[in-house]
Each structure stands twice: as structure tokens, then as C-alpha cells.
Symmetry: C2
Subunit: 119 residues, 2 copies
DNA sequence: TTCGCATATACGGAATAGCATATATCAAAT
DNA sequence: ATTTGATATATGCTATTCCGTATATGCGAA
């Protein structure tokens, strides 16, 4: 896959979108409802940004039952991955500011429970 | 200095601006006329983008005679510097595509000559 | 001071991006 | 088949961004 610098940076130029990408990178994989809760923004808003991140090949989605999980696109170029990594690592405080419930990630039980859904 | 991820990425979300930043990082320091020639864009356009990069503290300017030189801001956070570095290194081909005359950087004489100005 | 070059800013219009609300799709459960 | 919860898309609007042209400023040379 190929991706020019401005293409990548346009994707990351919106606060909601960077937060999504950094959180997903940090957690390996997150579903829409987790992101909606973590960032405390409306579902359509999250969804629109996710569509954009999918379109530019930054994220990949995987449907599992009623949930859709997002992760970094496996073919994301190394340098882009490095950009995400270094940014996330150097900005954990900023990231967690708005990470809502996701902040206490360690003590959450199953992913299903996280989504407020049972079994 | 502090700089949030979306702040940095907004600066880099424009093709002209990333090119400026990557070239400046690569060359340590460049003046406006060099950038204008290298990127082959109008002078006001370059200047406007430079003003923006100055405003967000990504670049610092230094006046020397009639020229104004730009370099990465000395207090730019490490992670931002790392983002610029890894992006530049992984995209030299893309960078040089539009780097015009600056492409033959090795064989240029003095900076003054580069600007098409004598002594 | 006046001229010429390098650089910066102002202004108006065109294009783009982001948002809220409403609606559609799709899978699981009943 | 109908309902319900999860996710996606459409629509209409506002706000922001970017650009070209014109103009201003700052500096050095004459």
C-alpha cells in the first residue's frame, strides 16, 4: 500500500479521528460502541470518521455479529505506523483526557461487557 | 512548548506545508526564495503557509539582510520532531518529485547563488 | 531619498470539511 | 416475521480552508 504524507496527516488532522486512531493502536482493536463511549461523542459522528479512516486505508474493519471492530490496517506503511506509535506514546495524558470509561482499561472484564451488552 | 496531536497534524495536512517542513528539516535551514523555487508555487502562497507554520510554532524564522530563513522551531517537542524525521526519511522520493531545482542540492554553490541573487 | 528585490498581509470567492438530525441496514433474539 | 440493538449513510447547513490578485512592508544599493 502507498500513502503520501499529506494523505496521512489529513486523516489525523481532526481531533476525533486522531483520538480514534491512537486509541485503536493502543488497544489493538476496538468496536464502535467502545469508541463512542470512550470519546463521548455521538454515534453518527464516530461512524462518519471511521468511514473516512477506512476509506484512506488507515483502519480496517471486521464484523463480528452485531459489532464492528476496528484495527490499524495491516498493510499500513511502516513510517505511518511509526508516526502513530510515537504520537500515542508521547501523548498518553492528552489521550486519556477524553478517553472516558476506557481510561480504566485494566479493570474491565470482557469486551462484551464493555459494550454494555450481555453474553 | 506544548502541542497537541491534532494541532501538529493540521499543520502537516496540506501538501505545500508538509513539503516545506520536510525540506526545511532535511536542509536544516531554507529561505523563502529557495522554497518558492523548489516547490514551484507562488510567493504569497508560500508566505501564507510559512506564516501558519510560524504561528503554530513548528518553524522559527530568522531574518538576515533581505532574506528570511526558516528552520524547525528549536523547542519543537521531541515526538513532533520524530514524526517529521520518520516521514521525511521514508518519503524522499515523494519529496523530491516536486523539489525542483533543490533536487540537485549537492552541486549548488552558495546560498546566495541559489536564490538567483549575486554577492 | 528613491529604487528594486524579498517577504508579508488583506480581501473576496470557491472549495472542502464538519456537524446534527433523520433514516437505512443488518444481525440476533423473540 | 417482527423487534431491538449496533452501525452506517443521506441531507442540509455552517464553518473553515485555500487560493489568486492586489497591496504593503522592510532592507540594501545607489
Amino acid at each position: 500500500m502507498t500513502m503520501s504524507p499529506p494523505e496521512l496527516f489529513k486523516c489525523l488532522a481532526d481531533e476525533t479521528r486522531v483520538r480514534i486512531v491512537l486509541l485503536v493502536a493502543r488497544e489493538s482493536e476496538l468496536c464502535v460502541c467502545e469508541l463512542t463511549e470512550a470519546l463521548e461523542v455521538s454515534q453518527p459522528k464516530i461512524s462518519r470518521h471511521l468511514a473516512q479512516l477506512r476509506a484512506c486505508q488507515l483502519l480496517e474493519d471486521r464484523r463480528q455479529g452485531q459489532w464492528v471492530y476496528y484495527r490499524l490496517h495491516p498493510q499500513l506503511p511502516e513510517w505511518a505506523r511509526a508516526v502513530v506509535k510515537v504520537t500515542g506514546q508521547a501523548n498518553t495524558d492528552w489521550l486519556m483526557e477524553t478517553a472516558g470509561r476506557l481510561a480504566q482499561m485494566g479493570d474491565r472484564p470482557t469486551r462484551v461487557a464493555r459494550c454494555g451488552q450481555l453474553t
